[in-house]
């Protein structure tokens, strides 16, 4: 294992394992896509199919895999730098497409693998070997961005709470459409500011009174930087997912054969 002792990645790995087991999904039917970074190594510690590609590029292959074989359960799992920074453009446009995939983002608010620089979600003022006077730019707000772009499932969990996080990730996997799960996670080596203790003190769970289907209310929750909400912030059902819009049926494309008669007819039409 490439992770440091006490890393928030361990509980997340357990959560995902348990969620898949409890949902009775066969390893053969799961594809996990990841980019680069410590979080992106997750598929190596699970018994599933995986596409561990380039930094920031977990989502484009995930979309294509879901389209090419809609019967597969596709999970894109990477870190905050990978998903929100390097892959920001894919993050935006994947949400707009709404493919039926689950996007789990390990959000520890710091770069781990490159040794402690600011990530897109680092808080203002955080000092790093590069941001020596502290971070001066606004942190990226993944939930508000996702909501603005029409995400159909937006949730936030805390890696310190395995049982509740597991239920939310199960709901995300079962959601028909794009599901974002932003995972609060401490980096015990490089982030001395956002610790287990800090996440516990600054977060709370949304209760049953939160109207999950109300986008404006969800947006208010996403914008609240003082009290950080955990739970399913927004869920909208019924919107067709991308793979059902760009092709017919759900036969894997490897079973599709060329219609030679149609090709012959088409060739003739140019005479």
């Amino acid at each position: 294992m490439a992770w440091c002792p006490g890393c928030g990645n361990f509980p997340i790995l357990n959560i995902v394992k348990m969620a898949l087991a409890e949902l009775d999904i066969l390893p053969q039917d799961v594809v996990m896509c990841s980019g680069i970074g410590q979080a992106a190594k997750t598929p190596h510690y699970l018994r599933v199919n995986y596409f561990n590609g380039l930094h920031g590029r977990a989502l484009p292959p995930a979309i294509a895999i879901k389209i090419a074989n809609p019967k597969l359960t596709v999970i894109a799992e990477s870190g905050d730098g990978d998903t929100y920074g390097e892959g920001g453009n894919h993050f935006m446009h994947t949400i707009r497409r709404n493919p039926d995939i689950t996007n789990i983002v390990h959000n520890n608010m710091v770069y781990g693998l490159t040794k402690g620089q600011a990530s897109p979600t680092s808080e203002k003022g955080m000092k790093t070997p590069v941001q020596i006077g502290g971070v001066v730019i606004e942190p990226f707000n993944p939930m508000a961005t996702a909501l603005a772009l029409g995400a159909t499932f937006v949730a936030r969990v805390f890696s310190g709470d395995i049982m509740q996080s597991k239920e939310i990730i199960k709901a995300a996997i079962q959601h028909q459409g794009y599901a974002l799960v932003d995972v609060f996670q401490p980096c015990v080596v490089f982030n001395k500011q956002n610790t287990y203790q800090w996440f516990k003190q600054n977060s709370y769970y949304l209760d049953d009174t939160h109207p999950k289907e109300d986008r404006m209310k969800a947006m208010a929750v996403a914008f609240d930087m003082e009290r950080l909400a955990l739970g399913i912030v927004y869920q909208k059902t019924g919107r067709p997912s991308y793979e059902t819009l760009v092709r017919e049926g759900n036969t894997p494309l490897y079973e599709q054969v060329l219609d030679k008669q149609k090709l012959e007819q088409l060739l003739q039409s140019y005479q």
Binding site: G53, R57, P252, D259, Y270
Partner: protein
């Protein structure tokens, strides 16, 4: 008296949006239906409206697929045409157009075509294109009935009135064309060839698209960029009929990464772009190299660097494609020279990509993409569209070491096993490793695949008597038509040509055709990229190069001049 025998070059000039494209489309269709050999190529500015664009349509006794500088008949639609094409207008050029709108340049007399008057008589300027086609056909003394039948067919959907008006416009134009020919003493002698009527008439990108369909392509993800967009549009048009997934990507990085994801899951994907877009894809190309997932990328070349000349032509991205992506891994590059080769290129690319699990590139350019010509459907070579995937067993290992370096490729959900791919160096089971032994084994396995790819390399086309000739003109991609015509006109045994349809890796046995000869490399770039590759691959000395890098394709006249200067 002006007589054109067996070869006439008609050029239509006008601003974007003035109907030049409509006239071109109508004219080539009708001429081909009449049994004439036609070849058409356009040049246009990078704008939606205005500017000055032109289309050259050659009508010839035998098949020609090359651009000529010479203009025999010039149809000018506005005052910018003559200044724009001044360098190609000679006292022999017959310029036709509405005098009041066209203006004039030195040494040039404009034969008046009263388009405005015709439009008034017809009650609508919409029919001007049909009038213009009629005039051209009248001058050529083509069969009016074929034109009328074509118009009926083309406009049937738009109703009786539109058909009737078009027929009226056609007659006005045709009669006027006859009258012009008589007045100016123009006589066109052109053979009709019955067999042409049954031929296919397509542009390069359509042929490439048809080949992509024939290759069993079922997925395209791309970001539009001229001149590569045509393939995306073509496959979108055919997507319903052939079950093709079409995704307009947010950027070229997404496009190639989607393409790789699609292949990984068992689809057959293509990505299309131009040089600038391909720059963004290069990390993805490197990814394809290490995860050994097939990918086919079409690059429609245009002059760079950066935005360069967006709508013009060049062959300057060979080095880019040859070296794209960090690290070392095998690849193959095709560069078709005709529509038939474009059709084959696509199929061969899918075959090599799939069989060897490598990235494969098709290099075309604006000139090939936009060139329209006809050929017998039987000329098209069909390859079997075979899927090289296997059903996995429980103990499946994606990167199993094998003798030829090709590990059986499983896809997720097909069989008992699990399929992992990793951009890190990996062991046979696709897990990250930093073992030097494993690294060497996997790297050698990947690189070793080039041997099989080289064995399957397409042989170049020999033009003229290559064995006998002292000088071999070596060329590639879209220059095939021009060198064929130049050598045919030259009627010499001392010069022959080799046209490479596959530009990397090169077939081993071709080397002996070049050893001991004077080698002149003809290519549409400034630094002789293919000349350098020839040296590298074959260790031969290059005697001379004929290069061009002004955004235009080689003309027949230019190659004749430059070859003479060398010999």
């Amino acid at each position: 008296m002006k007589r054109f025998s067996g070869d006439i070059s008609i050029v239509l000039g006008g601003a974007a949006g003035q109907g030049v494209q409509t006239v071109e489309a109508l004219l080539v269709q009708v001429l081909k239906r009449e049994g004439y050999h036609v070849f058409a190529i356009k040049e246009y500015m990078s704008r939606i409206r205005g500017g000055s664009n032109s289309t050259e349509i050659r009508v010839t006794n035998t098949k020609r697929r090359a651009f000529v500088e010479r203009i025999d008949l010039l149809f000018a639609m506005d005052k910018d045409v003559l200044p724009h094409l001044k360098h190609r207008i000679t006292p022999d050029t017959i310029v036709l157009g509405e005098q009041a709108k066209v203006g004039t340049v030195e040494n040039c007399h404009v034969v008046n075509i009263p388009f405005t008057q015709f439009a008034n008589e017809l009650g609508n300027p919409l029919y001007t294109s049909t009038v213009a086609v009629g005039v051209a056909l009248g001058i050529l003394d083509a069969d009016q009935k074929v034109f009328e039948d074509y118009l009926r067919e083309r406009f049937a959907r738009k109703g009786e009135e539109v058909v009737a008006k078009n027929l009226e416009a056609a007659k006005k134009g045709y009669d006027f064309g006859h009258h012009v020919a008589y007045d100016a003493g123009i006589e066109v002698q052109m053979k009709r060839d019955e067999s042409v009527k049954k031929e296919m008439l397509v542009d390069g990108v359509t042929a490439l698209g048809l080949g992509t369909l024939a290759a069993g392509c079922n997925y395209i993800s791309s970001y539009p960029m001229s001149p590569g967009t045509g393939l995306l549009t073509f496959l979108a048009e055919q997507s319903k009929a052939f079950g093709i997934v079409v995704d307009q990507a947010e950027d070229e990085i997404a496009a190639i990464n989607q393409g790789l994801g699609a292949w990984y899951a068992g689809a057959r994907a293509v990505v299309t772009t131009s040089g600038g877009g391909f720059d963004l894809m290069t990390e993805g190309v490197s990814l394809a190299g290490i995860i050994e997932t097939p990918i086919v990328v079409h690059i429609g070349q245009r002059p760079g660097p950066a935005t360069g000349l967006p709508t013009r032509t060049e062959q300057a991205d060979l080095n880019l494609v040859l070296y794209a992506g960090h690290g070392e891994f095998p690849r193959a590059i095709f560069a078709p020279g005709t529509p038939e080769e474009a059709y084959l290129s696509a199929q061969q690319s899918f075959h090599i990509a799939d069989a060897y699990q490598v990235p494969v590139f098709i290099l075309t350019d604006q000139y090939l993409i936009d060139s329209i010509s006809s050929f017998p459907t039987e000329n098209l070579e069909h390859k079997k569209a075979k899927n090289h995937i296997v059903a996995t067993e429980a103990n499946y290992q994606r990167y199993q070491l094998t003798k030829d370096g090709i590990s059986p490729r499983g896809v997720p959900g097909y069989g008992e096993g699990l399929v992992g791919v990793d951009s890190d160096e990996h062991d046979e089971s696709a897990h990250i490793t930093e073992s030097a032994t494993v690294r060497r084994a996997q790297h050698e396995k990947r690189l070793g695949k080039i041997q099989g790819i080289r064995k399957e390399a397409l042989l170049p086309t020999e033009i003229g008597n290559v064995k006998k000739a002292e000088t071999i003109v070596v060329t590639w991609g879209s220059n095939r038509g021009v060198i064929e015509e130049v050598l045919e006109l030259a009627k010499t045994d001392t010069v022959a040509a080799l046209h490479f349809h596959q530009v990397y890796p090169l077939p081993e046995k071709t080397k002996k055709l070049l050893v001991g000869k004077k080698i002149v490399v003809l290519e549409n770039n400034a630094t002789g990229q293919f000349a350098n590759l020839l040296k590298l691959e074959y260790g031969v000395e290059i005697t001379d190069t004929i290069l061009k890098y002004d955004g235009d394709p080689f003309s027949v006249e230019e190659v004749v001049r430059k070859l003479k200067a060398i010999n």
